[in-house]
Point group: C2
């Protein structure tokens, strides 16, 4: 008997009608002969309301208590959905993260899953129940409630699918799959039929908010296909899966822009071993997460070290840089906030030449100046003027024909 | 170092301002050198809202899932109060019922506490934290969340006080103590300074809704004084405590009326051994809770067996009686719904004569007919016409001078 894991996000369980619809979908899968596990998020705006309640009492609430508070949102959804299923004649049991022994580390607010004891779920599945598990939450080894951070319910769902040995995890959402780029910025973007874990990881790290990176990592590690699809219809969505041969033909699967960045460059840095490491150690100690790093040597003694950070981390980054300048010789620091990054991602890049050239030409033709370039094996990113971000994305999407289904694109 | 347990009900934590006030009270007790544990209920109307959410999806929700849902209300309060205390500069940690290992049986919706593992609370208290524990909730041996039923947070608080070896448990509420009778029905009712566990148990079973019976039983069993007091001021409230010699002088401590009753009489019942037991076994199997029972023999062969039930249980009781009449010979069944019970309670009755006479005379003078009488060692109850209920209560309260402080009343 196959095990199906279905995850419903907050908008898909926002009210009684939507909970009923999600329950109906779970029952349908059960009637088709599957064992069904539902993973649910907090209803609609519940989490926002709880955050507001917290901030009214404490502008900087302790993270442990915040997790204790926020985890109630998912607990409410799963019990309500179990009641709904029972009302529809289906045996059902809900579980908190604690009850399925979703053990995490103790980093409240962004905990990482360490293990899942799925025995109770298996027991109830064997007894014909649909099991509804609260997403987003776990407990640390001392029994404190933890939460997994943004997109955490996706991670819960994929991790549970892995723990139960399910082949597929369905992620129900308010869009009908993953698009080649953000349709709000490029209206002709097409829905992808499938995409590899690696590409999806790159896109997630580039701010394409569809899926949490951790969820994708779990899928890749434990061989769980992730099916992102609409909660409003029965259409097939996008499968996130292992790389298959035909993916190699697709040079560029998706494109993104990131606009919440700042660029920092340390100019005339002493080019001695350990200096760069010192800079990033300092930034890490200040909890600044660093994106693309570029180092260029001016001569054998001096170098320019450039990197990007989230704009929200810029103040912390500046402070860390001031500290490090007391220890490391550096001529000047250049900071730029009106910057954006345009990226293309595709596993086909590995085996095709001319991808970078095509991207640069497209930007040139659109009169977009490129300030910096970084690449990975399956990604090319260009820093551009913030004002040019939208124009640059459209130019790149047009060039790589992201308005057409993958199989209809011109091969390079 | 003394341990103080403070319980705040839903109205005392209904909004941010009230949570701050409750937190301030806990901090004050902490600054006075006590170790402080706060037990809190769900905020204001939260539980009502959750019940409404549930009924929208299932008119008869499974009790396990209802407990799962409702327990989130208290979890929200305790985390918010911990945040509030931290904002006020006080270290604080919140706990769910599961986290303090409040183990109960598995009777969802009216579970009974079996044990409490207070180690984590003790640890945090020793580290200078105020601990905030979610009332009303526990877990069964399999880890399912349970709730303790109406007034359950009081029971949680007294049980935690007992587990920690605290001398006193403070119950903060929106009235300033326990009154000799309901002030809405008898405006001159006086606040009691103290009352014995046994009297309070009788009053609770007579529907005086101030305290849950189980909470009082815990207090009695584990020697915890229960201090019922106002969350709005610092006045001493009412102490529920072991019987002390001066209580004996108080003939009647309190009076009540119960108006949600129905009387059932089985007339001309075969007076053979086991018949009465059969009747009550059948009623118990139908989940009908039976109050006062009176049996009178008509002759050696026939008897009349009369008892009262909650009016909400009347339909179930009627059905059970129809069943039993197939097995037991009984001439007729008399059912009366327009009935009320007036009761007086006091440990002084044990050593004073004339209490019943005084009560009957008062009712006679008020032209209230008495339909039935039952007594216990510390209680006298009269069934009267429902229309006479208020008049009867006033007559009895006047007769026993329940408008005066106990020490000023005329001794019989």
């Amino acid at each position: 008997m196959a095990i199906v894991v279905q995850k419903f996000g907050g908008t898909s369980v926002a009210n009684a009608e939507k909970i009923r619809r999600a329950a109906g979908r779970a029952i349908k899968a059960h009637q088709q002969g599957n064992q069904v596990v539902v993973v649910a998020s907090a209803r609609g705006k519940q989490t926002d309301q709880l955050v507001a309640d917290a901030l009214e009492l404490n502008p900087n609430p302790p993270k442990r208590e915040m997790d204790m508070l926020l985890s109630t949102g998912e607990q409410q959804t799963v019990s309500l959905m179990a009641m709904c299923l029972e009302a529809m004649g289906q045996k059902a049991t809900s579980f908190t993260g604690q009850q399925i022994q979703m053990i995490t580390d103790n980093l409240h607010g962004k905990a990482r899953i360490q293990s899942i004891g799925a025995e109770k779920v298996k027991e109830k599945l064997s007894a014909g129940h649909i099991c509804i598990v609260a997403g987003f939450q776990g407990v640390d080894e001392s029994g404190n409630i933890t939460t997994l951070g943004r997109g955490g319910s996706d991670t819960s769902a994929v991790a549970i699918a892995a723990a139960l040995g399910a082949d597929e995890c369905e992620i129900y959402t308010d869009v009908d799959g993953i698009y080649s780029t953000d349709p709000r910025k490029y209206p002709n973007a097409v829905k992808m039929q499938q995409i590899s874990y690696d590409e999806m990881l790159e896109l997630a790290s580039l701010g394409a908010g569809v899926m949490h990176g951790r969820a994708i990592e779990f899928g890749k590690k434990y061989d769980v296909t992730i099916h992102v699809r609409s909660s409003m219809n029965d259409n097939t969505g996008t499968l996130i899966t292992h790389e298959v041969p035909q993916m190699e033909g697709i040079v560029v699967s998706g494109a993104t822009t990131q606009k919440d960045l700042a660029q920092i460059a340390l100019i005339g840095l002493d080019n001695t071993p350990g200096n760069a490491a010192g800079v990033f150690a300092h930034l890490a100690a200040s909890n600044v997460s660093v994106n693309d790093i570029i180092q260029t040597e001016v001569n054998s003694e001096k170098a320019t070290l450039s990197f990007t950070v989230a704009r929200s981390d810029l103040d912390a980054a500046k402070q860390a840089i001031e500290e490090i300048r007391k220890q490391i010789d550096c001529e000047s620091v250049f900071i730029r906030e009106d910057i954006a990054e345009v990226s293309v991602v595709g596993v086909g890049m590995r085996s095709h030449c001319g991808v970078a050239e095509k991207m640069f030409n497209a930007l040139f033709a659109a009169k977009v100046n490129i300030d910096a370039i970084t690449t990975s094996e399956i990604r090319i990113s260009c820093l551009v003027d913030l004002a040019d971000a939208e124009k640059a994305l459209v130019a790149v999407c047009d060039a790589f024909e992201l308005d057409k289904p993958a199989e209809e694109r011109t091969q390079p």
